[in-house]
Symmetry: C2
Subunit: 253 residues, 2 copies
């Protein structure tokens, strides 16, 4: 059912001295008692440290808060599941019947955990330098594209920074409507930036989620205006729920 | 004002190739621009990983949840500040005027951060093996005394496990009084274990805190009863607020 671990080794560019460690790393607890959870604990920490060291070296001038934010983004479940997918890790997973039937081999949490366990297995097999090398290899193509100014920042923060950079007043978020019963509500939020004549609407299952969506739309609307400073713009007119809305108005300056 | 770094090196049993790294590690941001916060980021992660690896090796049979709990306890601020104190780290700290005057060299957060930065500096100076060795040396006397069954568990959990081990019904927590205004309240909570005739009262600034204190008192009261199984006890009588109260009653069995 599962592919030969030799091809996983070649994808990792690492050959195990004790292949049973790799076998354990791809074994979910639903499959057998010798499963990967302890290796995952170890792998999670060698991964966190390695990515910290890689970022520390690559970005010599950014502060520790930014380093933390970048790392959190690079080691989060979705990022790990992406790497796991590139390694075709799901082909090697050993899952119990129930997990197999419910598609566990596609589940991001199972993939991310197994990937961490693989890193932990490499560390156990050969020590830190080998684990560092294996992890660095997987992250090399990702690190090339990391933008320390934006990666891992939420849309509201990005919008705020964009406006501050242009010395424009902060956006105003307003809940314009709520729908549904108390524990199953959706929120409609407006994000307005009068100076740029931007007014967008977005929905979400929480006020916060709706605000973040609205901020994303607002950024898109501002970027569509081009690199202007908020004083001269092409007048535009449109009005549509949940899409960028630039309210037409001649610039007063 | 600050002691020579050579004596810190000997306390760490490590000699820096680049002593300016150690100097930076003991420099708080209030002192100068070349401060220790980036090193702290790096040191925090090499510390977390090293302690994970030490625990993984030492406790071959405990699960990843227990490993996480143990690690969290070993790397928390108070634990780091303890180690910093044994190293007399405060003597080497470079603080700005304000921090100096307000006693910053005694503050656990500043000590813990500087210690992490020192570990990060060792890693930068010589790589992982050196950092592992320095950290392992500081933790060796601590790891000897780690009890994986109890370390880092809160009193309510410990009490619950103690009772489950004796097949006794769980304790009942009751708020018996609150004092003070809404945002400055104190709570008085009773913890009762009828089967053991234990009834204790404790106060706290939150319900949770009061419950934890009450659990601590309940454990003390049970331990004072000796290793009995809850069926035969010396009858005792006492009644005092915020102290163990064993309600006297002849055992019915």
């Amino acid at each position: 059912m599962t592919s030969s671990l030799a091809s996983l080794e070649s994808a990792l560019d690492y050959t195990f001295q004790d292949i049973s460690l790799l076998e354990q790393a791809v074994t979910h607890r639903s499959h057998s008692a010798r499963h990967n959870e302890r290796l995952e604990f170890l792998g999670d920490s060698v991964l966190n440290f390695t990515v910290a060291a890689l970022l520390f070296k690559r970005f010599a001038r950014i502060d520790e808060g930014d380093l933390s934010r970048l790392r959190a983004n690079l080691v989060k479940q979705a990022s790990l599941a992406d790497i796991a997918q590139k390694l075709s890790l799901s082909q090697y997973l050993r899952l119990g019947e129930g997990e197999l039937k419910s598609g566990g081999f596609r589940r991001p949490s199972i993939l991310a955990d197994a990937l961490e366990a693989v890193f932990g297995a490499v560390f156990l097999d050969s020590g830190f330098d080998a684990a560092h090398k294996v992890i660095a290899r997987q992250y090399a193509p990702i690190l090339v594209h990391v933008d320390p100014k934006t990666l891992g920042k939420d849309p509201k923060t990005l919008l705020q920074e964009l406006l501050q950079g242009r010395r424009i007043a902060l956006p105003v978020y307003t809940v314009v409507a709520t729908h549904g019963a108390a524990h199953n509500q959706t929120f409609e939020v407006e994000c307005a930036i009068p100076k740029l004549e931007v007014k967008v609407l977005a929905g979400g299952t929480s006020r916060r989620a709706a605000e973040q969506s609205a901020a994303t739309l607002a950024i898109a609307a501002i970027e569509a205006q081009g690199p202007g400073k908020g004083t001269r713009r092409r007048p535009r007119k449109s009005a549509q729920l949940s899409l960028p809305v630039a309210v037409s108005q001649e610039s007063s300056t």
